[in-house]
Structures are given as C-alpha cells and as structure tokens.
Amino acid sequence: MVINIIKYGAIFILLVLFQGLILNNIEFGDYVVPLLYVVFILALPFETPNWLVLIIGFVLGIFIDSFTDTLGMHTSATVFMAFGRSYLLKLIEPRGGYEFNSKPNVQFMGLTWYLLYASILVFLHHIFLFYIEAFKFTQFFFTFGRAIASTFFTMILVLIVQLFNYKSTTKS
C-alpha cells in the first residue's frame, strides 16, 4: 500500500513536470495540444475509491493549471473525467467483474478493452476542456475539431506509455 502511494506519487510528479515543461511547448500544428497527464487518471487501480479518483483529478488539474495560468480549466475537465471513469468502468466491466490485483492497462485487460476505455475518457476530457476554454458555442465545429485532433494525439502518447509499461513488466 505504502509502496503504491510512493510509486503513484512519483508518477504524478513526473507526469506533471513532463506536461508542464515539455509537452506544453510542443505543437503539432495550431489545433492540437497533446495532454498526456490524463493518463494518470486512466492508470489508477480498479480498487481506488471513486471519491479518491475525484480528488486526485482535482489536484492534478490544479497543478497543470498552475503551469498554464488557466486556473479551473484543466481542473474542471479532469474532475469531469474522473467522474466519468467510475461509470465507464461499471459499463464496460467484463463478465465476472475485474480480477483481483489486475490494473486498467493493455497487459491485463487487452488492447480492445483499453482502447475503448482510454479513448472514451480522453475524448470526454478533451471535449469538456476545449468547450470550457472557448466558453461559447459560436465556433462549435472548430472547437469540436480541436478536441478530436487533440484526442488522437493524446491517445498516441497514451499508447506509447502503455508500450513502456508492457516491456518493463514482462521482463521482471
């Protein structure tokens, strides 16, 4: 338990720094903003209590917002995503429930399950974030396009992270 807290704490700090100092400065064109930090919410174990996921989402959002001077924007989107996670997990639960000690990643749950799980949540997060950022519906399709394109790039990064995860655990 304590080891888990330290492990996830370290991942948290790494992700926040990576997002704030590196990813925020990378641009794939004008529409796309890769937001890898959401992978933290995706990677939390199944046993994490729902209320804790919400609070972690809130804190994570605050940290990311501090880097971009947009207090509240990423926070609300991440809280929304954390909220969606608990319902989605129930919705796509395999027959017989989640196995004890398994984690929401490609290795335990398979690629199809993970793609469904991750892309829905990332899309929820991005669509919420970009409409909050725009704060209006006048440029509906432009904002929608940004959300779709950014979801695509974030998903690529999320899958790359899964690749690393996969390798390191099979070796040991």
Binding site: G20, N24, W51, G57, S66, L71, V79, E133
Partner: protein, 277 residues
C-alpha cells in the same frame, strides 16, 4: 439497510463531484475576470523559479541569434553616443535641450516562459515588483510589440501577449495615419486582424502598422507588423485586413518593459472630462 448505505454512498460521490466541479468553476470565473489567483499562476515563486532554471538551459540554444540581435542594437546605440558627434564650432555653444522631456523609461528583461498555441497566451518575464514593474505596463522587443503586464509578483511578472483574444491594441497605418484596432484570433500565431479601417483609405500590401500611442501602454510608433492581405467585402464600410507580425512570438528572449512617466497625468486630465460631462 445495506441498500440504504449503498444509496447514500453513491449519492455522496455525486455530491463530491458537483462540489469539486463547482469549486473549479468558481476558480475559472474568478480567473477570467481579473486573474485573482495570485497563488496558482506561473509567476508564483515555486513554478517561476522552476521555469527560470529550465530557461537557463534553453538560453544556450539561442545564444547565436541573441548575440546577433544585441550586436545590432549596440550598433544603433553606438550611433547615438557622444563620441560619434563632432562640434560644429570651435568655441563653446550653449544648447537648451529641455525641449525634450523624458516620457518613457525602458527596463530590460528576459522572457522565461511563453506560449503561442492557446486562445489566451501569456509570457512570463524575469522582472517583478522589486524592479518597479507594475500591472498595465507595456512590453516591447527591438522588433515590435509583445504585450501588457498583467500580474506582478516579487521577482516575476506575467504578460498578456498580443496573442490573446481579449487584448486589443490601438494600431495606426504609418503612411496614412488612420487608427484601427488590432485583434488576434486563434489559428495562426503570425497573423492578426486590423479592424475599423474605413473603406476610403488607400491600402497597399506591405504597409507598415505601428502603435498609435493612444492606449498609454506603448509609446507611439513601435512596429507591429506589415499588411499581408486585405479585402473589402461587398456593402461593407470597413476593410478586412490581415497583418503579419514583425515579431516571431515563438522565439522571444530579450524584451523591454515600458514605463510611461506621463500616464498618470494624462489619465487624470482625461478623467476631468468625464467628471464635467
């Protein structure tokens, strides 16, 4: 009983969600109104220092270009040095040079964080209240305008870039002197729109756009960019003008913060007009 507990615990989750969402919306609205968040922004001590450390490393990659820019400016300054002038007469001449009172003072500073891909872009700069920087001052670079100082902490300040949807700059066509308002919208960080130029003004591609000096933030005549493209929609009284910025906002490094000595005086005078009406 078990059902009751389950029902309650399920609801408490939703209550927590609504509460956290509410808190973040409050933060968001406060933040949008007037950056009330003095603690959680990139000019705070912790993240400001982190950025400046990272920036120290990044600086090495720009050394060559920065040196060229500095050399260019040195050359210009050298031209105004006393040594470059010679006396016209051999005897002593008395010159009354108080015709020119100093109106603007420049503080040199360095951009340590910058964004160009958001709707509201901010730049963090390594000068703060201990250097006499105040909210509302203008920021320029040798090549053109940068933005307006928004939040100031002890050692850093954050600047609302011209690449900010809500930052409109009063701009002037250098040749004809017509005043318009320059706004930027997300899409291309090199292009902005100049509005309110009436249809009888003669325009050419490549015309220089400068600041008007009306806003009291920037001195008059600081370069903004050049006219890239313009058209006059049918039945419209105003041009649609695309301006190409003279500054590449992705490669900011050394900037100047502009302080206007006479801003207070001018504001006070203009406030008198409002009071009499």
């Amino acid at each position: 009983m078990r059902n009751l507990i389950r029902f309650l615990s399920k609801n408490s989750f939703i209550f927590l969600f609504v509460f956290l969402l509410f808190v973040s919306f409050v933060l968001l609205v406060q933040n949008n109104n007037y950056q009330n968040s003095k603690v959680f922004n990139s000019s705070n001590f912790l993240i400001g220092n982190l950025y400046s450390t990272i920036n120290n490393v990044n600086d090495y990659f720009n050394l060559k270009e920065d040196n060229a820019k500095l050399a260019e400016q040195n050359a210009k300054l050298q031209a105004t040095q006393i040594g470059t002038f010679t006396k016209i007469y051999g005897t002593t001449v008395e010159i009354n040079d108080t015709v020119y009172a100093q109106k603007y003072v420049y503080t040199s500073a360095k951009a340590i964080n910058n964004s160009t891909n958001r709707r509201e872009n901010y730049i963090t700069i390594d000068k703060g209240s201990i250097n006499g920087i105040k909210s509302g001052m203008g920021v320029v670079s040798p090549k053109g305008i940068i933005g307006t100082v928004k939040n100031v902490s002890e050692n850093f300040c954050s600047v609302m870039s011209v690449l900010h949807e809500k930052n409109a700059v009063s701009a002037k066509i250098k040749k004809s002197g017509y005043i318009g308002s320059l706004v930027w919208e997300l899409g291309n960080y090199r292009i902005a729109q100049l509005r309110d130029i009436p249809n009888h003004v003669k325009l050419n591609k490549g015309d220089t756009i400068i600041t008007s000096g009306y806003s009291l933030v920037y001195p008059e005549g600081v370069i903004i960019g050049t006219v890239k493209d313009f058209d006059l929609p049918e039945g419209n009284n105003f041009y649609n003008i695309d301006i190409e910025f003279s500054v590449d906002y992705k490669s900011l490094s050394h900037v100047f913060i502009v302080k206007s000595w006479m801003k207070e005086e001018q504001k006070k005078l203009e406030a008198l007009n409002d009071m009499e009406e």
